[in-house]
Point group: D3
Chain length 338, copies 6
């Protein structure tokens, strides 16, 4: 089988640290083109592959006609580039949040369908071993129904992650459209939907810019009611300067499931009958293959096996809706029903 010809559009941190190395390690893929308005950055990425470099993704799509693209640009352009790529016949892997509005998301799904290409969203939390293990444990039914939960994602902010540091697009609203909620909150919205195999019914949110000099949000606290009736909180923060947190706790009928609350045992189950299980699954992450996000391989597998991607545009859209509802809640002073 000939290799899948992939183009990477947007060559910042997420492209450099996840997409490019993981495509490189995938035997089915040939990286053929890179695009970034900062051409020097694109050239640096392209050099090891002898790939072509573009400043304008439209030219890339036109000249290269890639089989697939990764859209790693600032949030504001996710939708338009994905749509253009799909129209150009390329399968699309778009970073999260997949879009800035629900209308954009709907159109992305529609266009992909019309053009017979796959649309996948980069929700990598679903592929992390602790979350995979938690899902497996929930499926056994031993814990019973989930009654309430909390899920949080907080760190000191994207300054330390972005290749542009403090001057990153993450802090500019016209490009980012949202802050901690788009960066972290949408991850947890997607995770809780997937873990509970349930949809969000009601959302309330307080979203604010409390400590950083930016016009996007640096903190959000939300309350969610699921269709099953379970209620819980969802938190995203860029100002956990200490006390970083990427944890999820589910209180269930028969006990509690804790993810990410202990430095050694990533998943802990404590049952009402007194038994306790402690799972170390993060150790896997030290193996080379496991430190990958898992998303790129899943996208390529999807193309290779002609199977629709598990984190489809519809999935991404529903997770986005949760976040957008929180913004609406803050703006209107109402609890939003989905």
């Amino acid at each position: 089988m000939s290799k899948i010809r992939v183009a990477v559009i947007g060559c910042g941190a997420i492209a450099q640290r996840r997409h490019i190395p993981e495509y490189k390690d995938n035997e089915h893929v040939e990286l053929v083109a890179f695009c970034d308005p900062n051409v020097a950055r694109a050239e640096q990425c392209a050099a090891p592959f002898g790939a072509k470099v573009y400043a304008d993704y439209k030219v890339l799509l036109d000249e290269i006609k890639p089989d697939a693209v990764s859209v790693c640009t600032p949030n504001a352009t996710h939708a338009s580039i994905s749509i253009d790529a799909a129209k150009a016949g390329a399968h699309v892997l778009v970073e999260k949040p997949m879009a800035s509005t629900d209308e954009e998301a709907a159109q992305m799904i529609e266009v992909a369908k019309e053009n017979g290409v796959y649309l996948m969203v980069g929700h990598n939390q679903r592929f992390m071993p602790p979350h995979v293990k938690a899902k497996e444990l929930l499926k056994t039914g031993r814990l019973g129904r989930v009654l309430s939960f909390r899920t949080s994602f907080g760190h000191p902010g994207p300054e330390g992650w972005s290749v542009d540091g403090r001057s990153s697009w993450f802090f500019r609203k016209e490009e980012a459209t949202m802050g901690a909620m788009g960066d972290l909150g949408v991850h947890k919205a997607d995770l809780i939907r997937w873990l509970l195999d349930d949809e969000v019914a009601v959302v309330g949110g307080l979203i604010a810019t409390i400590d950083k000099e930016t016009d996007v949000d640096d903190n959000a606290v939300c309350i969610l009611q699921m269709k099953s009736g379970a209620i819980g909180s969802l938190v995203a923060s860029w100002t956990y300067y200490k006390g970083e947190d990427n944890s999820t706790v589910l209180w269930c009928e028969n006990g509690v499931l804790k993810i990410g609350t202990d430095p050694v045992d990533q998943v802990i189950v404590e049952l009402r009958n007194g038994s306790v299980e402690r799972h170390q699954v993060g150790a896997i992450a030290t193996n080379e293959k496991q430190t990958t996000s898992g998303v790129i391989n899943a996208f390529v597998d999807s193309i290779v096996t002609k199977t629709p991607p598990s984190v489809s545009g519809e999935e991404g859209r529903r997770s986005l809706e949760v976040i957008l509802a929180a913004f609406e809640s803050r703006a209107t002073g109402k609890l939003i029903s989905l």
Copy 2:
């Protein structure tokens, strides 16, 4: 000085486990009368003190004319009994939540003022050594401004606490008026106000009866915005069958303050400059004197020293308002501004 003649109205768990033993250990107090519709229960409490027993608190107030009373009855009667006691010239220590409505609370404060008696509310979380230590650490200013927080109180429900077990008034709305929120949520509303020395500005809440057979709430998740701008979550649950939680975490400009997150060190400070402080203050609780709630002594001290109580009716009222706002949020689908 002659002793303060105290009557205890309501002889259930909180009276038996906190009020009565702590009054007994206080040298300024003489327990003179006990009242409970279950007269046998009142007699059992009264016997060691040779105190009088009543089924009707009005007769008690009339005959005994106590200097002070503890109101330990179901929530629905907190207001009326407190008002009658104040009118009878007794200082009043009322259990939390002090009332079921803001109007009741306002009237209680008014009547106490008119009758020249003190009104104190039993918010014992303020007196717990870990919270006292946390407040002391915040006051040093080392942590800077509080940016965001979470505060939670969850356990398996009052079945294991109440002297009536599963048939406790806690589960009957006409007597309890509210469930986990009145039992646990109001504690945390009071705590966060006191720790941050700040007032709640906006409240959103999802409150539900998810697992217990009762017509009161067994779970609540709330979002709070403080006047200072800090945002956070407040959780109360009666269905943490495992994974009990009575913790509060404050993320601040210069680091994080964690209360109740570690089994050994009740208060932990982690600063951005890399230093970590771990405080063991709960060990004190093993000394006989320290296992007291602290509330009764504070009430008696207030009377003895003729100093208004620190947890005044006004304080109790503001904490109650937070909880009531959460109920209103759930009922109206709106975020409530206070």
Copy 3:
């Protein structure tokens, strides 16, 4: 339903510590008679139940006609008493080892069948929570095929367990017929058969009296080959004066399963993919109900539900055969095929 009338034959340690209290706690059972050549001991056991006392079990069977009996006598009499009881129409729960020879065991099974009564053997290791959890984990298939194993049971000897201490029948061959192998080894033979759901094919054994003044064995080391091809060691010792051991380790295709090797986590799974699971299931044993052996309830359930007991005579016989083969190996200098 009328209660099951149970007689206990043999009133030593295992009767006093397991059978009698567990029958007492079982609502379906009435303890009607006790038999022991030491009549005072039988009377002490019978007193709380107002039960009858016998020195001769034949008289007991004749006069009482019990629905069921527990045979808790020295090993040498297990077979004859069980046979007589079955002939008298009583269901039989016999302590391990069920007999001293395979012929005895075969006859016990035959007689029970002829008389339409159940015959169950007291192999309580199958009911211990760590072993139940291990079996459950093996059944998931995650570990793959068991390749090799070791299973050991060693303690300082029955002096500290028997109500007769150093002068116990455990140390007299004519009554015990065997020593550590009958006391501990047969437990592990039964356990490994059950855990692996496999039968023993070949047995080699070295059995000796190394340190105690007795004519029965105080130490045995055996090698086993299972029908599946897995090989392993089985050890029984009464001279582990320190370093007591009741552990089993199974090395499998995909990882290792460890039971009883860690003081906190009774069952540990380490997989080749790097993940580790630690299970605390012994904590259950602190609850009153859970400290029971499980054997008595299973026996009574079997009678109540008219379901053949899981640890049947046939099961007990096969576990006994493993031990007898080890003795034969030592006597003949050959590896014994079963």
Copy 4:
């Protein structure tokens, strides 16, 4: 004194990782020649020393006339090469197992004696600090007589050790003659003889190829009776994919001695009087000098001081006999007396 001129015959993993570096660090030694049928491999080893290279060891012996040789070839050739070397007047250090049959071993000893050269076998376990410490503790007499023991050596197989990986001679019977037993079992046979200062009297063994694609054994479980009467188990495995084990436990009259059972304290003594000693002696292994096997230095010292080597041919032969007896046991279905 002039340096000892040493030749290394066989340039695989054990030569590259132990013999060559340890000879290099020994001031009394000059490495003068290297032999391997894979000449490129021999040249790579020889280059740093400007030593000569041979494909045929006979030519080497003839041309170089070394003072001493290390025989690091596949097991099947240990005997013939050692004999030829001894005849050529070289002291011989041969890797374990020293030979494939007892006759070979006897002849090696005989030829070495006739030619006035030393014959030493590479049983490095005797030089490991935890074993040295255990021997020292046993010699104090505090533990009393050893009653029973277990000694195990299991890892995932030589694929990860051999320079040829999965295609190593370790897996080919004509070269290896035996598998895990020759690789690991003979180490433990030698260790238990040395630790207990006792000889093996009876051996039973089950030896099988359970999981690897090879015609040699990948698992063995053996039972041993020592002349003193102590009994125990000896295990060798190449299929401990997890749960690697290189431990030895001795249950004694006065307590237990554990080697290699704890990740921190390599040697632990627990006495019946309640005292516990924990020894960390492996930490020494982090010093450069201590990570050596100890064997090469002992061999050189032996030559320099003209003292017969402690791990003599006779010692190696007796340890080999234990392993051969286990094979005989498996083949004949008998327990073998030595």
Copy 5:
């Protein structure tokens, strides 16, 4: 053999908690008489033994003519009572410090010798398992010569030990003659002499009453030079309100020996070659027999076997001299040579 008739003179804490129970458990002893100016206290002690009671020890000696006496009176009377007892033909076990002056000590030794009785001093630190183990380890020679040391004994003061609490004779100079130094310092002087098998050559001391209301010392810090040349510090304190300490550390040529510095491992040896040994020997102290001081049994054994006691009057005198020299140093401002 007839029993040794023992009288206890002085019935305070040390008599009640050590001497009397340990004599009681010793099969060779009959407690025949008790003496205390507080006759009620003596009677309480005597009652279980049907022993005689005296307020005046001279009458006791005269009437009872005991075989042996324990002198458990305040320090000031140790000498005179011991001398009178020895003259009355009784073996003498005197509590530490044996006397208040060196002249007294000399006379006690002289009189005991003249009267053919044994004189033993209650230095129980020599019998504590950690000290016994440390002495054993030092004797192996592995640590080499002791170069320097520190030995400390500090606690919150005798208020919590003495049966008279804050009004104990410990705080009155005319009875105690010295404070923390007599109570604790003399223990450590004796210990260091015994552990090092060496004598003190030079002493400097700072001794003060820093925090307690008493006319005896509550703190002392001393420097010692041993005849071997080793130097070290000796500390005694009654004001370690927290941070209690009964530890001794010896820095030696080949490593360090630590006693009492770790809550689990009472004796730790760390050698320069990197090895570490950790000894748990205090666990023994949980056995009934082991919690005894060891002193009484040693005294009785001495009498029974007619062997001079190991902690003889001469030993006690030399340890006392160290303490007296420290007082002299403080008084004269000089370093005192012994």
Copy 6:
């Protein structure tokens, strides 16, 4: 502002590891000259800065006229070089001990004052985070008055630190004038004065050369009485081959403060009320900036801000006096009053 022109006199370990790198990192400083009798060493230090090199510091002072100098020479020359530098108009940072006699120290202070330059002494212990934290805790007053203390500094000797190893000037009396006391003891004398904010009143000392081949002291134990009445011990050793120690413990009215006694928590406070605080402040030392001694920055800040240095010549002199008094004590056999 123009940069401060600094010359480093003496280019051994302390210059290479502390002074030079810390000056290099300080933006206010230009390193202009280096002096060492070993010119090659000076050149090596000077090369990265293009600085001048001198063998004779007088020529350096004359030609360079530096704004400031670091005096990092052997102890014996500290005074004369510092005086000459001050006379040449340079601010002086002199290593500890600042001088060999009190007269020298007095003259240094005098000359600095006359020439209007600052004189600072390199007592870096005051700047270590654990000591800074301890001082801060003491200042809160929670611990109350310090009653007694011990402070120790012991390691295996300067062989491992000095760039000249065993042949370092540290071991030659004519250059070092003193050994462990000048290297380590003076640090602890300065620390205890600073922590307690108190002066030493009385000193006794035993100082000896016990194990090293040198004519300076390798061990010292001292007793100190402070003006406040507190007493304690001060220890310096070069023969702690294992059991290294840099700890200080203060026993106070309300509890104990421990510095450097725990591998994780550098400062621990245990109060009589039962509370315990554990502070991790050394973690800071892993940050590049924090591993600095702090002394150089403090010296430069002093010059830049024209503020007299906190560790002034007077401070250094008083700390030196303590050490000199200990030597005098040893020499005269007297306790020395300051």
